[in-house]
């Protein structure tokens, strides 16, 4: 299920955006207590704001596919509230060079599985969280580029 997407163009070469992308995605969410397990995996605590509620979630994030400087796919598994709330989501990032000085960024999040609690009661808020995150990603990349 697609839960968020955003496409935007930045006035910077693709390599520069690529160099910023991993850093930007890592800092998109307020991770705490990150335990870096390998070059592509870490787990952490994420205090996910879903509407008025802050859910501390245990997160495992893995870069599942990386093709510099074109694309990166990440898999994020989050669970909280004693396992009642959980979501497995895949994020895809595609960078397309437009000439030498512009880059199109296409980001999508797919929920590959979700607990009934999130699906039935919090789905709009999860989508809103995803939309806010991507807006922030665009702002950060534009500011840094």
């Amino acid at each position: 299920m697609l839960i968020g997407e955003r496409k935007f163009i930045i006035d910077a070469p693709r390599q520069r955006i690529w160099d910023l992308l991993l850093r930007a995605t890592m800092r998109l969410l307020p991770f705490e207590r990150c335990n870096i397990r390998s070059q592509t995996e870490f787990n952490a605590i994420l205090k996910m704001k879903v509407g008025p509620v802050t859910l501390p979630m245990q997160v495992e994030m893995e870069i599942v596919d990386i093709v510099p400087p074109e694309s990166m796919d990440t898999m994020l598994k989050a669970k909280g509230m004693g396992g009642i709330a959980w979501i497995n989501q895949k994020s895809t990032f595609k960078l397309k060079a437009i000439g030498e000085d512009k880059t199109e960024v296409e980001a999508k999040i797919f929920a590959e599985g979700m607990s009934p609690l999130l699906k039935w009661f919090f789905l709009p808020m999860v989508k809103s969280f995803a939309a806010d995150s991507y807006k922030l990603l665009e702002e950060r990349l534009k500011q840094w580029a």
Binding site: R27, R33, C34, Q39
Partner: protein, 497 residues
């Protein structure tokens, strides 16, 4: 004087069980030699095992010549081109060697979102020889057969598993003390301490010295390295014994003043330092006078010794030693500020740094303060200077431009508090480079450039890298020259034949 009766003998005696020694032993064995592998430590934890284990490759193997020219330029005439060529040849053969052992290399992306460990693939991109050259870091892939977390540890265990399947005799807790030379000037073995008694370990073909650096030899460090003091992230048994051994049999030394040095936390409870790894950008480094001194995010992490060695002649001090790390709550909370998979304290001592740094705050390793003034006072810094420095840095962050040191925009983040955090950081050696001069055959040379018969060296012990350091060449070198030494030693005719 050659002792009459050996305690043990083999064709090849390897001194030091790191990745270089392991590669030498395996290769000598695979070329038909019997091998004894001596190790000083009871549990081998060499620096190669403590390291990230990354290896550098030209992206396109056709760039072999270009890569060799670049590396030779980085060495700035401190090593012969033919030695660099031998390194590059061996490097390109390493993947097949790993495959024989059951391992596989993969591209390495270093490391997720670190703001302090700066490791570009191509360290010296401004060199003319670097133009058009594309490099790639690789590491041994983590698999079911190579499960260890740290790259260097993973490689060492891969080699160790192979050694355990052979008849190579590994003697741990057996420090070598002296090389034995016969009347013809040939090296015939070593005197080692076996259970506290001197014993002659005879080498019928050759001795290969792979006994590491001098990170824990205060005299050698004082005479050769700057700045001072300088600690190590690695094995405290690296006390330079091998250097004195080869000097006594007439070896020439080289690259003694060269090093790969980063920043670390050094606490009295541990002999080795904890290398730092900051996952968020709300931090700065300041010197003894509470002044920033660099773009903290773009100092190549093996070359910290260069800026730290700046000496203030007027005040007769290294003003950046120690350097003080000042950071904010986000840095504290996002993850451990010490690298979790690397270093002697992690690999040998099994220390696990707390994920939110709270345990280290409790221990007093990290200072937590309610104000900048309190932080300065507790760190022993001038309060006004530290306040001025943080205010200035925060102002630059707000303007999104570091006019002082050019720190990039994505790395600019104001230090927000309270609370504020700080700690002392010290120069810490990943490794020293100095030791006996060697040639492309891994033979140890005398001051006239002549090989000392039947004596070889590999790895950090007299590394070929003699000026600045291209990332991930030390680890590559352990395997390349370990293999070269092992192969050449095994080829020799036995003594007296």
């Amino acid at each position: 004087m050659v002792p009459e009766k050996p305690y043990a003998e083999a064709d090849v005696v390897v001194v030091g069980y790191g990745c270089a020694g392991g590669a030498a032993a395996v290769t000598a064995h695979d070329n038909g030699a019997s091998v004894i592998l001596l190790e000083k430590s009871a549990e081998p934890t060499p620096n190669s095992r403590c390291s990230a284990g990354n290896q550098i490759y030209p992206k396109d193997p056709k760039d072999k010549e270009k890569f060799a020219a670049y590396l030779h330029a980085v060495c700035f005439d401190t090593v012969e081109r033919e030695v660099v060529d031998a390194f590059v040849d061996g490097l390109l053969q390493n993947p097949d060697w790993y495959k024989q052992l059951g391992g596989e290399l993969e591209a390495f992306f270093f490391p997720p979102a670190s703001c302090s460990l700066y490791i570009p693939d191509k360290t010296y991109s401004g060199l003319p020889e670097a133009q058009g050259l594309q490099l790639e870091l690789r590491c041994l892939k983590q698999t079911d057969t190579c499960p260890e977390h740290a790259g260097g540890d993973r490689v060492w265990h891969l080699i160790d598993r192979k050694i355990k399947k052979t008849d190579i005799k590994v003697m741990t807790a057996t420090p070598a003390k002296e090389l034995v030379k016969n009347e013809k000037g040939e090296i015939t073995g070593v005197i080692a301490s076996v259970k506290g008694k001197d014993a002659y370990i005879k080498a019928n073909k050759a001795v290969i010295m792979t006994c590491g650096g001098f990170e824990f030899d205060e005299d050698l460090k004082r005479d050769n390295l700057t700045p001072r003091p300088i600690f190590s992230f690695g094995n405290p048994d690296n006390t330079g014994d091998g250097i004195r051994m080869v000097q006594k049999v007439g070896a020439a030394l080289w690259h003694m003043s060269k090093q790969a040095t980063y920043l670390a936390v050094k606490v009295p409870e541990f002999e080795s330092g904890f290398v730092i790894n900051l996952l968020a950008p709300g931090f700065i480094y300041v010197d003894k006078h509470a002044k920033r001194w660099a773009d903290e995010t773009h100092i190549e992490c093996h070359e910290f010794w260069v800026p730290l060695s700046q000496f203030d002649i007027e005040h007769f001090e290294y003003p950046r030693v120690p350097t003080y790390l000042i950071f904010d709550e986000e840095v504290k909370r996002i993850g451990p500020i010490s690298y979790a998979t690397m270093g002697y304290n992690v690999i040998a001592k099994k220390y696990i740094w707390s994920l939110d740094n709270s345990a280290e705050i409790k221990k007093g390793w990290i200072v937590q303060a309610k104000s900048i003034a309190e932080l300065a006072k507790r760190l022993g810094l001038d309060e006004k200077s530290l306040e001025d420095t943080i205010n200035r840095y925060n102002k630059l962050c707000k303007a999104n431009k570091d006019e002082d040191f050019g720190r990039p925009r994505e790395m600019l983040k104001a230090i927000e508090g309270p609370p504020y955090y700080g700690m002392k950081l010290w120069p810490v050696l990943f490794n020293t480079q100095g030791g006996p001069r060697r040639d492309k055959e891994a033979r140890v040379l005398d001051p006239d450039g002549k090989p000392i018969p039947r004596l070889y060296a590999a790895g950090e012990f007299g590394s070929i890298w003699g000026f600045l350091y291209q990332t991930s060449t030390n680890f590559s070198e352990t395997i390349v020259f370990g293999r070269i030494a092992g192969k050449n030693a095994a080829k020799l005719s036995p003594l007296g034949s």
